[in-house]
Symmetry: C2
Subunit: 367 residues, 2 copies
């Protein structure tokens, strides 16, 4: 029994961890899970990267909410990423709040939480932390790296920054850069958190978080995860447990009640400072930036095969962003397949039942 493998693992890796922004972390802890067995040739490892508010509980129950893993529709027995066949790794991102080093971690130099002394991180830093974890696990080359949304950003970055370590990349509902509108929505969320006096410049106690501000941030973000069409289908103007509007400020409409619930339940499981740092990392993400905006040049050295998936009603990372990546990969001569899937569920579609997506991913992994 190798203690490195299994559920609810955590490792502190020796040595300093330098960051893209110039900062240095004195040490690096990564919380992660693995599913399945690494084969003798070490050729069956798949890294799954999570999105902004995701975590390492990819395919096992979440310790706070008790809910099933966040991507059990894709990962699990009989699914495209079947632990019977694959050795699956999922790690809480650098900057996260589920055990990996982040703003709520204790800075060993001060004995206090980093809070806003945590250095600003990037998507590339998250990938470097994962690379160190792979070294620790004895995984040289990944059969595939898979991610949706911010997970897709990490997957693309893997192919660019570690071209020899990634055979296949699956990037779903994602983009190679954050748009002005994406940045704007994140900035609203950050301002909502920072406007909450409980935030206290980031130095809040763990049991006294800026819950109201974080809930507002989540509510604003949540709207962007759904489509107008999906919201109309799901809620329309239907009232919540009443026959007529109350002429007041209660949650008369189902959509209000739903949003409030989303905000309140989020603060139970997420750290406000982590939200600040991870949204910032996403805003800074622009693969083409070091190449004067030329995305094809960013992909010049890649050695992976790529599979991109977008959803028709995703207005957060619309199909146009996936097409831009596909064009750049084509220009760079990299093999890429792309499919836009019909869905009324907006950005969140990749986390829902998506049989077509599963077929595409399965076909790509087994091809």
């Amino acid at each position: 029994m190798d203690e490195r493998f299994g559920l609810d693992r955590r490792v502190t890796l020796p040595g300093e961890f330098p960051l893209a922004g110039g900062g240095v972390l004195p040490e690096l802890t990564i919380a992660y899970e693995t599913y399945g067995k690494l084969n003798a040739n070490r050729t069956n490892a798949i890294l799954v990267c999570h999105a902004l508010t995701g975590d390492q509980y990819l395919a096992s129950a979440h310790p706070v909410t008790g809910k099933a893993g966040w991507w059990t529709r894709l990962v699990g027995p009989g699914k495209p990423v079947d632990p019977d066949q694959w050795f699956v790794i999922c790690a809480n991102v650098l900057g996260g709040c589920m055990g990996s080093t982040g703003p709520s971690s204790i800075d060993p130099r001060s004995g206090q939480p980093f809070a806003m002394n945590f250095p600003v991180i990037t998507i590339a830093d998250m990938v470097e932390a994962q690379a160190r974890l792979l070294d620790h696990l004895g995984v040289g080359t990944l059969a595939a790296v898979i991610g949706g949304s911010m997970g897709g950003m990490q997957a693309l970055t893997w192919a660019v920054n570690h071209p020899t370590r990634v055979k296949k990349v699956v990037a779903i509902a994602t983009a190679a850069r954050h748009s002005a509108q994406n940045i704007a929505f994140h900035e609203v969320g950050r301002q909502a958190i920072m406007a909450d006096p409980m935030w206290a410049g980031g130095a809040y106690a763990a049991d006294k978080p800026p819950a109201a501000g974080l809930a507002v941030a989540r509510m604003a973000a949540h709207i962007t995860y759904l489509s107008e069409e999906g919201l109309t289908e799901k809620f329309g103007r239907r009232l919540q447990d009443r026959d007529a509007v109350s002429f007041g400020f209660d949650a008369d409409f189902q959509v209000e009640s739903y949003l409030r619930h989303q905000g309140l339940s989020f603060v139970e499981r997420f750290d406000a400072n982590s939200y600040l740092y991870i949204t910032r990392a996403m805003d800074y993400f622009d693969l083409a930036q070091p190449h004067d905006g030329n995305l094809a040049r960013a992909f010049a050295g890649v050695q992976s095969r790529f599979c991109l998936v977008s959803f028709t009603s995703d207005w957060l990372y619309p199909t146009a962003e996936s097409r831009r990546i596909v064009r750049a990969l084509n220009a760079a001569g990299a093999p890429v397949s792309f499919v836009e899937l019909e869905s009324p569920f907006g950005h969140d579609a990749f986390l829902l039942d998506a049989p077509e997506m599963n077929r595409v991913v399965n076909g790509f992994l087994t091809a």
Copy 2:
């Protein structure tokens, strides 16, 4: 010189003012402006209705910001709504904060501001308040009522609730109901305000408003007024007064700086409780609701001619909502013209230079 006419007028109308939600206001004050002269036959009156955060300063400088009137591109000498020809009226809506009765007004029964004791109001209530103002001004029939966004909701309501008093209706960038997504964005704004401890259940002093919460509400709303395309064109990922990102939480990106400015400047001129009440009135707006969702039945008795305008990149009140109104008016046998105008500027397009819109409005008013 008739004191009723001119800039910066204010009148308190006698008698109670009953509301659609069942409440009653003990008195009704309306702050308004008029431009031009009512002709002898009283046939040249045009009422212009303002949007959520607008006011009566339609075509004269705003007393707080000093900026030109909010619709001088449409109203003024040589414009489609020329005070040389038309007698133009614009009133601060019921529930507003620029002089008309609203939550910041003093309740004569208590001597204190209404605050959250103000009754919840509707778009129809706003229209009734305007009707009382017209009575006061001696205006029987309107040559036209014109409005964009929430102003368009009032214009449509005028035609339905006062069919004999409105010859023509111009409804721009608007809808006959608030969608689930519209309600969701408003709910985020309200939660942001109510999460601010300075809000104090609405009982804040005028000089100690919940500025942080209101600024966040404005920022979230402002994103919905612009298009992704417009934001990309205007800001993209360009940095604010710097050559490289700061790896911090300053406003590195121009779009962040712009949004923060929008939030901060808004709180100088708007009242948080008014924002709560007016967004609520918009959420409640659904012309078809009293007719089992049949919008054509809502329009059954209208006697006006209609002109509808939408903009291609407006995702807050998209063209589909205007088409829905057009279909219902057609079914009701009401004369209607409709045009969708190309614009990259999103919902805000109706307030910007829009020569095509001006041509359409001019043609409709003079036909």
